[in-house]
């Protein structure tokens, strides 16, 4: 009852289960490249990335940054009288036939160009969001990985400190510091960053706790690799998925926190502006001049949604169990 069917394999008669390494090509995919491949195929995340890049470009090129002028001829601090053909300073933006007009987003109650104002607001909000994202990620990753790798008393101290930071209500802290530093945007961004690293620290610690027991870490320790090198070279690259995904979520969270703080009046102060401040200033104009509320609202939504979609795409891309639809 023997059945001597010869399998049609590329390895012919060798019958080896060990795959021969393909030597015709030197092309190999690192884990990072695999993640990138999966991310590029994620339609929602790619769309969100394109939209976010467009929004960033629009915000920074239109009115320029600091002394560098942008392509938009109006300034967010100037008053413009008699330039708008529409009553109440309504938007001049027309979709069909398409024309931007003099004030595409309209004018505010005292005649400022609202496009310029919204662009300035978006700049400030994006700046705060990314600063918070970077500060919180650096802090959270460092504290989490040190606590997770060294365990013992170091871990206890760091994690109890984390608990201490978790119980500080962000809004009350903002109210206290906002009174003093409110006008200083970078300081405020730093402050939000200094209190929002806790979630990431806990996640990174949990990830490191499981990674430090892996054999490649034992192998590195057995060789004599110093602890800092082990964390930097062996542990953190493998926790990158968690870190990046949470950084993006932290960024969109920061936009909303800034909005909330400015909305309550503790954040950015006039004449400078942010998207949250614009909404706060014009919350009563919703019935008379609705565009003053909608434009900053749309920008907040767009930025936060895009960042969340990107985070979602990254999470899928880092998940090795991902299958292709």
């Amino acid at each position: 009852m023997t059945d001597n069917k010869t399998p049609e394999t590329a390895h012919g008669e060798s019958y080896s289960v060990e795959d021969v390494l393909d030597q015709t090509t030197d092309k190999s995919f690192s884990q990072g490249q695999l993640v990138l491949r999966r991310f590029l195929r994620h339609k929602a995340a790619m769309t969100a990335l394109v939209v976010l890049v467009l929004v960033i470009l629009l915000a920074f090129t239109s009115i320029g940054v600091g002394p560098i002028p942008g392509w938009w001829d109006k300034d967010y601090l100037q008053f413009y009288v008699g330039t708008n053909p529409n009553p109440n300073g309504a938007p001049t933006l027309q979709l069909w036939p398409f024309s931007i007009g003099e004030h595409p987003f309209g004018q505010d109650t005292i005649g400022k160009d609202y496009f310029a104002l919204v662009m300035r607001g978006a700049q400030v909000s994006l700046f705060i969001a990314f600063t918070v994202g970077i500060v919180a990620t650096l802090l959270g990753t460092t504290i989490g990985s040190i606590a997770g790798y060294f365990r013992g008393i170091t871990e206890s101290l760091l994690m109890r400190t984390t608990d201490l930071f978790i119980i500080i209500p962000l809004l009350i802290l903002a109210a206290v510091f906002g009174r003093t530093f409110g006008a200083n945007v970078p300081l405020m961004a730093l402050m939000i960053g200094l209190v929002s690293w806790t979630g990431l620290a806990r996640l990174v610690r949990a990830e490191v706790l499981s990674l430090r027991e892996r054999e490649f870490v034992s192998a590195a320790r057995a060789i004599g690799t110093p602890s800092t090198t082990i964390i930097r070279r062996h542990i953190l690259p493998n926790a990158l998925g968690t870190i990046i995904v949470n950084a993006t979520l932290g960024i969109s969270g920061a936009i909303l926190v800034e909005t909330a703080i400015s909305f309550l009046g503790f954040g950015v102060r006039a004449p400078d502006t942010s998207l949250g401040l614009l909404i706060q200033t014009y919350q009563n104009a919703l019935t008379t001049r609705p565009w003053l509320f909608w434009w900053p609202g749309i920008f907040i939504l767009t930025i936060a949604l895009c960042v969340n979609f990107i985070g979602d795409g990254l999470r899928d891309a880092f998940d090795p169990r991902q299958t292709v639809e």
């Binding site: 069917k5 399998p7 019958y15 995919f29 892996r214 054999e215 490649f216 034992s218 192998a219 004599g224």
Partner: protein
């Protein structure tokens, strides 16, 4: 009744599990994978059919189709018939009726197959209640009976315990009891003993064998272990890359293999008692008297909160001369890996001393310790876990050089190329990542890493246990050659006596952290003095059905002389 007449009896009966021209393809990110290519196989009542093959041969995929549990990206052609029902044509409800009732599964790893938060008894009653076999108190009573039937002592008490309170062998008995709970016509056992120690494996195999004899259950046994096949199977089907290359009775296939792949596979199995030179050249005899490693009164303890510390290694003394391979043998929990890890400085040593080339590992600190570590190489069991997935192969191998500041970028690159040549990997592997390599290739990389600094002592912790048997053979062959070339002393930790037999000069047998027996390979493995060593040797199956049947009878006689029972299903418990 001999196995042959038994198989002939079975021929006349109708098959309980049939694969007809089964063909399975998976859609993946990198294109289609053709896992099973037109496979036809029958399992009849009271018959054990072994599906043998190495990883990637499609044996588990084949079995999974019988339970209809393949993931959504699989496309299945052909038919799988269980109890006259074609699996592909069933809807969800009908499928659930077939699972458990007609076909049941015994999984490889009993710890993960059991839910850790549910009592053992409740897990058993669940299947019965789902299939309406018994409910409430009646189901519980039956669950206890089942546990008694599979030979679990104190079944009433055990049923109320959680899986972690049971030993590995007992857990696997629970899994078998679960499979039996609805009296299925066929049981699929997917590597049922791979995660178990040899002595436990022998018991579980005895139990499974009694199932087919006493309950007339058909068993599809999936395994890569030829010894298990010889011990259990009536018929054998050898799979290679999705196809059955050879099938026949176990005597035909194992003793007179026709197909080149089967021959290759059987040649790769290490034989206990044959000694050195099974794979390539034999290792050199030891000439040096200088001690590379001296372990004296070694004690390692694990701290436990609220309890006194657990002594994993208790007063162990042995040594290893330059150029000598010392095999450290024992079952799980014997402390063999703990000794290895303590020697590498990964676990603190409670007392005793370990001298590596004269300097005491337990005393030196700082720079001296680092220097000492550069003279010890290490190979871990699972190459997939011991290589950092984010680093390319070249960086992995060069890492010890970087850590110990040896050479510059160019000399390191040259050294990596030399080592890649030595472990017979192409130089183009330099830029590859571990996930692009097969298991055997990965283990070659970790051997290369261990040899980077030309260590005087190598600690190899089960270096071939995670590998397929043919890959194991080629890795062992390469290992022997490297040992001859580099002349390192080696502490070779393994649970596989046949592997130890093929290359060790001396053997140390451990049980519960204590040395049971030590001596030269011939003394320990060919004329063991201690009872524990004898049990270990008797339990290791050999890939020859006739020889194995004799060994089994000998083992049963040994067990009886030692006052132990042979594991078997107790049908009296099931009839009640």
């Amino acid at each position: 009744m001999t196995t042959e007449t038994k198989a002939n009896d079975a021929m006349s009966q109708e098959a309980v599990l049939q694969f007809k021209d089964l063909d399975v393809k998976f859609k993946t990110e990198f294109g289609r994978v053709h896992a099973v290519k037109g496979l036809t196989l029958d399992v009849r009542p009271g018959e054990v059919v072994a599906l043998v093959g190495e990883s990637g041969s499609g044996k588990s995929v084949t079995a999974t189709t019988a339970l209809g549990l393949l993931p959504g990206n699989a496309s299945i052609l052909g038919e799988t018939i269980v109890a006259n029902q074609s699996i592909g044509k069933l809807n969800g409800k009908q499928m659930r009726n077939v699972r458990g009732n007609h076909v049941a599964m015994v999984f490889q790893e009993p710890m993960t197959a059991l839910n850790p938060v549910i009592r053992v008894g409740e897990q058993l009653t669940e299947a019965m209640e789902v299939h309406g076999v018994a409910f409430g108190k009646e189901a519980w009573a039956r669950a206890v009976d089942l546990l008694k039937a599979v030979g679990i002592p104190n079944a009433e008490r055990r049923a109320k315990q959680y899986p972690h309170e049971l030993s590995g062998g007992m857990r696997q008995r629970v899994v078998i009891a679960m499979a039996l709970s609805c009296d299925p016509a066929v049981i699929i056992a997917d590597e049922p003993t791979t995660a178990l120690d040899v002595t436990v494996q022998a018991d579980i195999l005895d139990l499974l064998r009694s199932l087919k004899d006493k309950l007339n259950t058909g068993i599809l046994l999936i395994t890569h272990n030829m010894g298990v096949v010889a011990d259990m199977a009536d018929r054998v089907a050898v799979m290679f890359k999705g196809e059955i290359v050879e099938q026949g009775t176990s005597e035909e296939v194992l003793l007179h293999p026709q197909h080149p792949y089967t021959k290759r596979l059987l040649d790769a199995v290490p034989h206990l008692g044959v000694g050195h030179g099974q794979f390539g050249e034999a290792v050199n005899p030891v000439t040096s008297t200088e001690k590379a490693l001296e372990v004296e009164n070694f004690v390692v303890e694990y701290k436990r909160t609220g309890k006194k510390p657990f002594r994993a290694v208790d007063d162990v003394t042995f040594d290893c001369r330059r150029g000598e391979i010392v095999g450290l043998v024992g079952e799980s929990g014997s402390g063999k890996s703990t000794i290895g890890r303590a020697l590498l400085g990964l676990i603190p040593v409670a007392s005793g001393q370990a001298k590596v080339l004269g300097s005491d590992l337990t005393k030196v600190k700082g720079r001296e310790l680092k220097e000492l570590r550069s003279r010890i190489g290490v190979i871990f069991q699972d190459p997939a876990a011991s290589l950092n997935p984010r680093l390319p192969v070249g960086d992995v191998i060069a890492e010890p050089l970087v850590v110990h500041n040896r050479g510059n970028a160019e000399s390191r690159r040259q050294r990596v190329y030399e080592l890649l040549d030595a472990v017979r990997l192409p130089r183009s592997a330099y830029n590859r990542y571990p996930h692009e390599l097969s298991g055997g290739q990965r283990q070659r990389v970790s051997i290369a890493r261990a040899l980077t600094l030309s260590p005087d002592l190598l600690v190899a912790d089960e270096p071939t246990s995670a590998l397929d048997v043919s890959v194991q053979a080629s890795v062992l062959e390469m290992f022997t050659e490297l040992q001859k070339e580099f002349g390192f002393a080696c502490l070779f930790i393994s649970h596989d006596l046949a592997v130890i037999d093929s290359l060790a000069h001396r053997v140390v047998v451990l049980q519960y952290g204590k040395v049971v027996e030590k001596g030269t390979r011939e003394d320990v493995l060919l004329s063991a003095q201690e009872e524990y060593t004898q049990r270990l040797l008797a339990a290791a199956p050999v890939p020859d059905p006739i020889e194995q049947a004799r060994r089994r009878a000998e083992r049963h006689a040994l067990l009886e002389s030692l006052g132990d029972r042979v594991a078997e299903i107790d049908t009296r418990e099931l009839d009640q």
